[in-house]
């Protein structure tokens, strides 16, 4: 009896195994999964939904699309590392190094050479060089960018038409004039340290090009370069001049940017996402426009990107790559401009009117740098030492000379403690 059971059992297992194999062979249908960090209510989600529907229709692929929002993908890296996780995921310039070190991204050299369907051009042809650079790591193109992000000083062109100071002196003159007229020139959400550092970073890297901020983390001697003192003195001038709103360091995000949108302040330094964040708060007739911090020198422009990466351990790498070339079609990229109100990654698709200044700056830039000059890569230096020090400078707690002295000393300490 026992023997019979054993034979039956083995037989059953064998059948089950065959069944599995057979069903595997018949499933020739492609499939693709994507768990998006966009929220279902965001305009990007609507574009992505259309994209996936169209892709499914044209290729017959079975798509699994979920919108979980920023907080829904907290454990994504660990999931992907363990062989789970979706085929496609969202990423950005600042995450390339982490993802590459964890071997989570499939390099996209082959996607660069692929044709964008129906356009007779390759992926590489339609993505401007700075955009590709901002989306690449040491293994080449790391993800397919759909959106360009950058930093600028934002203002209301209806109030100050054509405002575009070319030198620091012109900029300060505008701030003084604004103050004299009884207005508050700059609104700053001072509890966000990486918004406060926009001033120093834009001044230093704008004038001296890629690497000039990142190098401060690598060797204390770099703090002695005159350009560092120059940028710090300009920030000190902002702090001492009283150009930012009272108690800005105690202003909890997003109070200052919302007040700016309502016309309380003239200027707000921020990323290209600002306009869509404050959209509901904008006073009627507000015309969002921007200019670059007049840093002088090399006039380097920040270029960062957002895009889709392919999970190296995903089950459908080939389909995911096919999707990327499909998604880059003009008709979809146009929606990132018209629906999501962002700067699309393709150079031949115009940005929304209020971002035309930034797009022009990016496309015409002779020099470009990555978001924050990639100085956040050493996170202990960046988060525990540099950003707090930058906060002290812009809040007027220390002057430029102390900033340099402290920065140099603490960088040396940090490097010594490894």
């Amino acid at each position: 009896m026992r023997k019979l059971t054993a034979v039956l059992l083995i037989g059953a297992l064998g059948l089950a195994a065959c069944g599995k194999k057979n069903s595997g062979e018949t499933a020739a249908q492609e499939s693709l999964s994507y768990r998006s960090s966009w929220g279902a209510a965001e305009p990007q989600a609507k574009i992505i939904k259309t994209l996936f529907d169209d892709f499914a229709k044209e290729t017959g692929a079975k798509v699994d699309l979920k919108f979980v929002g920023r907080t829904g993908n907290e454990n994504l890296n660990a999931e992907m590392a363990s062989g789970q996780g979706p085929d496609l995921f969202d990423t950005t310039t600042g995450d390339i190094e982490t993802l590459t070190a964890q071997n989570l991204i499939s390099p996209l050299g082959d996607v660069e050479a692929a044709q964008v369907p129906g356009e007779g051009k390759t992926v590489k042809d339609v993505l401007p060089e700075p955009v590709r650079r901002a989306s690449s790591g040491k293994n080449g193109l790391a993800y397919l960018p759909h959106t360009i992000i950058s930093t600028a000083v934002w203002y209301n062109a209806a109030e100050h038409p054509g405002l575009n100071p070319q030198t620091w002196e012109e900029f300060i003159a505008f701030l003084d004039e604004s103050k004299k007229a009884g207005r508050t020139p700059i609104g700053q959400d001072g509890t966000i340290a990486f918004y406060n550092v926009f001033w120093f970073y834009s001044l230093l890297v704008g004038a001296n090009g890629a690497g000039s901020l990142a190098e401060l983390a690598k060797d204390p001697a770099n703090w002695d370069k005159p350009q560092v003192l120059d940028a710090a003195e300009k920030v000190e001038q902002l702090a001492k001049g009283g150009y930012l709103q009272r108690d800005f360091m105690a202003t909890k995000f997003p109070a200052a940017q919302n007040a700016w949108a309502q016309g309380t302040y003239d200027l707000n330094i921020n990323g290209t996402w600002l306009a869509s964040e404050v959209q509901p708060q904008l006073t009627p007739g507000f015309k969002v426009a921007s200019f670059q911090v007049p840093a002088g020198g090399k006039k380097s422009i920040e270029v960062g990107t957002l895009g889709w990466a392919v999970n190296a351990k995903g089950k459908n790498v080939a389909t995911a790559k096919k999707f990327l070339a499909f998604a880059l079609q003009k008709k979809y990229m146009e929606q990132f401009s018209t629906v999501a109100l962002n700067i699309p990654s393709r150079g031949d698709v115009p940005a929304p009117a209020h971002m035309a200044d930034v797009q022009k700056a990016v496309l015409e830039a002779k020099e470009t740098h990555l978001s924050y000059d990639y100085a956040g890569a050493d996170k202990t230096w960046w988060g525990d030492m540099f950003l707090p020090l930058s906060d002290k400078l812009i809040s007027g707690k220390i002057d430029a000379a102390t900033f340099i002295r402290e920065g140099k000393k603490r960088t040396a300490d940090h490097l010594a403690n490894g």
């Binding site: 890296n77 660990a78 992907m80 590392a81 363990s82 600042g94 190094e97 982490t98 070190a101 964890q102 071997n103 989570l104 001072g190 509890t191 966000i192 340290a193 990486f194 918004y195 709103q245 009272r246 108690d247 800005f248 360091m249 105690a250 202003t251 909890k252 995000f253 997003p254 109070a255 007040a259 924050y372 956040g376 890569a377 050493d378 996170k379 202990t380 960046w382 988060g383 525990d384 030492m385 950003l387 707090p388 906060d391 809040s395 300490d413 403690n417 490894g418």
Partner: protein, 293 residues
Amino acid sequence: MKTYERAFWPFLLPALLVYTLLFVAPSLFGFWVSLTRWSGPGSEMTWRGLDNYVALLHNEVFATAFTNTFVMAIAGGALIFGFTFLSMVVLRQLKGRAFIRSVVFLPLVISIIAIGAAVGFLLNPEGALNTVLEWFGLDPQPWLGPEMVFRCIVGGLVWSSTGFYVALMMSAADAIPAHVYEDAQLIGATKWEQFRHITLPLTWDVFAVSAVLWVVNSLKIFDIVLAFTTAGTAAAPPIPARTIAVQQYIVVKGSGLPELGSAAAMGVMTLLVTAVLIVLTRRITRRDRVELS
């Protein structure tokens, strides 16, 4: 004796196995990680020995986070139990005390996201509190600025946690028979004396447990710091507001590679501190049990 010994292992084994698998093994792994440099599954793990610990000891920011955590545990604890005892004195005979108790408990139920949003309305430079101060001719204060934010967080912590301990202690106090208090009143004991000689001794056991619960919870304080500072953004809270748990979050989730080794070292240090504090708390609160005959 023989039967007892034979039964021992089969009964113990399942629990031991589950405990080892779900708690002991991950803890040991965590300790192991604290001796390495590691960015998580998929990346290379390199041996660092005690370097992560040495680096933490030299790290001023970690020192601040460590001190802040202690201050929260001790000053926060003193305030919370101060209010709890006070409410036990005041509320015991009050009409509608059940209602007041639930009102005090309410902050615990409110989501931290809502608290974060409310903090902005209330404490921003142009917020409600400063507006009220200005009505009375007082100077507005930078509540959420680097100098004051930590005190505001401790205040928020006391506001949101007290209700829980009030509920716990009051339910113990409710179990004390009314005739004990009646006797005390007959001999002319004041409210304070009643608390001191009746309520406190008879609820001491629950207080000892509450104190340990508070210590354990306070060393994990995290979300309220974010609610008061950078909630809704990817930014790290300012240094004066950081706790160990927040610092841990920053080294794992902030920009750049996750530093799991350093985070694990912080975890091991917190575990040691928790153990010491619990032993201390137990010792301080150790009394002979008072029982009504």
